[in-house]
């Protein structure tokens, strides 16, 4: 679920084409690629021609071929991980002119990383078109040791750095692209509620 009463919790309204943009940069993972295919089917033909898709997740050669065909005539680049995908995005943004529109589709860590990197190039987060697809996994920052735990699917979760048991809050930091994790058994160590697989 990506709905919350907490204000800092981001919302992802879904991808829609900006037909005026002179170039479109779209970052997605495998699940998000489906949203990109749907986006292209809603847009006119020239839209995909002006688009570059960065698939920021390891794919088999066969998957890559299928995706390339599905996303044609867009230029599609494959990156083995979210990290390398974001590095590639930064290269595109470095010398880009106005008229570029940025899109992100996939898991929350992916969308959050795109928004975070874009801020370094003065791109307002509201101008990025986003759609959540696939896993609900989260990136969590331990508020105690400041370490990040990736791909969190449960609540509570054990901090991968300091080992504290953390309650994952909906409190989100756009700057860190992470949710807050707060020690849950500070009062009575070991008194921990049952672990739920909330973010599968």
């Amino acid at each position: 679920m990506t709905i919350s009463t907490l204000k800092s919790r981001p919302t992802y309204p879904g991808l829609s084409p900006d037909h005026n943009a002179r170039s479109n940069i779209i970052v997605c993972d495998k699940a998000g690629a489906e949203a990109v295919t749907e986006l292209f089917s809603r847009a006119d033909d020239t839209f995909a021609k002006r688009s570059t898709v960065i698939v920021a997740e390891g794919t088999t050669d066969q998957d890559a071929e299928t995706l390339k065909t599905a996303l044609a005539p867009a230029t599609v680049g494959f990156q083995p991980s979210l990290e390398t995908g974001i590095a590639r995005l930064r290269e595109f943004l470095k010398d880009a002119p106005m008229g570029l529109r940025l899109y992100a589709a996939g898991s929350e860590p992916l969308i959050g990383s795109v928004v975070q990197a874009a801020a370094d190039y003065s791109i307002d987060h509201l101008s990025i078109r986003t759609e959540h697809r696939g896993s609900l996994k989260r990136r969590v920052q331990c508020v105690h040791c400041k370490g990040f735990t990736e791909n969190v699917t449960t609540n509570p979760v054990t901090c991968s750095h300091c080992g504290l048991t953390l309650m994952v809050r909906d409190h989100y930091s756009r700057r860190l692209a992470a949710f807050q994790g707060v020690c849950i058994d500070a009062e009575v160590p070991g008194e921990v509620p049952e672990t739920e697989a909330l973010y599968q």
Partner: protein, 321 residues
């Protein structure tokens, strides 16, 4: 309400800076320091002209950190206006006393921008005077594109060119020069923001040009110097107090309420900030919405009105006041 906190000032200097434009320097009546403001801010000037009370917003021009005086520039709109600007030109001179509101900014430069493109038409230069002052002090990258009818009609052309050099581009309409906005906006790097202030058609043109070039809405900003358009007299009924107040042809609802001592909320008085939004209980006919705040759906619903700008053609309207 926040808009009604007033300060008395004295006019310390008046200068004719262009054919129909005068610059006024205002100091606190007791020479107390004024509030600092941010680039793009404006104040409201309260004017008592005969039995009429007007409050017109004017942009602050000087350095935002100079608290010894405020400077405004006023274009004389002549006889076809309700007379606020004419009053400033004809009845206000060195030594005159006026009341002003605290500065309010609905047009601030975006702090995160990598570059600022300022687009001004005519008197629309005023908010950019303080904005450039601020941007320059912060070593921010900016350029001004300023269209005027002629050198005689345009204020501060020479001053701006000597102060900011090649960052200032002036276009003289009488020489057939036009702001080449498409090429200006077509070659900017990511993270650039555009700001436009001037006549409505110019603002619409600039916003549309940016949109067609793929500029995100978050990167474009505008301020329109709108004043409440006149119309025919009508009656405002206040549902809570049961009072009935007549709005004259040259008055806004807000001005009529103030004249009768009804304290209604306001800030910008230009239909932009949303502060004066008022619920409509019932209404004869259509509301003429003149604001830039309500959404299309809200307009159509007829349940809300911005009383600083909007009116009805005739008859009466009952407000939730």
């Amino acid at each position: 309400m926040s808009g009604s906190l007033l300060r008395r000032v004295r006019v310390a200097e008046v200068e004719q800076v262009a054919n129909r434009i005068k610059r006024f320097r205002l100091v606190d009546i007791d020479n107390a320091p004024l509030s600092e403001f941010s680039g793009g801010s404006h104040i409201s000037v309260v004017m008592h002209s005969g039995d009429r009370l007007m409050r017109n917003p004017y942009s602050l021009m000087g350095s935002p950190t100079d608290t010894s005086s405020y400077q405004i520039s006023v274009l004389n709109c002549g006889n076809d206006s309700r007379g606020g600007s004419k009053f400033m030109h004809d009845a206000v001179s060195v030594g005159s006393e006026l009341e002003i509101s605290e500065p309010l900014n609905l047009f601030p430069p975006c702090k995160l921008a990598r570059k600022h493109i300022l687009v001004a038409g005519g008197i629309g230069i005023t908010p950019f005077m303080s904005m450039m002052n601020e941007l320059d002090a912060l070593h921010c990258d900016f350029e001004l594109h300023y269209g005027v009818r002629s050198l005689e009609e345009g204020a501060y052309c020479k001053y701006l060119q000597s102060r900011y050099g090649s960052r200032v581009n002036v276009y003289l309409q009488d020489q057939g020069q036009m702001i080449p906005l498409e090429s200006v906006l077509g070659s900017q790097r990511l993270g650039t923001h555009m700001y436009v202030c001037g006549p409505k058609p110019m603002i619409d043109w600039a916003l549309q040009t940016a949109e067609l070039l793929g500029w995100p809405a978050e990167n474009v900003h505008s301020e329109q110097f709108s004043a409440p358009p006149p119309g025919k007299p009508f009656v405002v009924k206040l549902a809570k107090s049961g009072r009935e107040i007549e709005v004259r042809g040259h008055q806004s609802i807000l001005e009529a309420l103030e004249e009768h001592g009804v304290d209604a909320p306001f800030l910008c008085r230009g239909g932009a900030c949303g502060q004066c939004e008022t619920g409509v209980v019932s209404c004869d006919g259509f509301i003429e919405h003149n604001d830039h705040f309500l959404t299309e759906a809200e307009r159509v619903s007829g349940k809300k009105i911005m009383i600083c700008m909007s009116r009805i053609p005739s008859g009466s309207i009952t407000l939730d006041l």
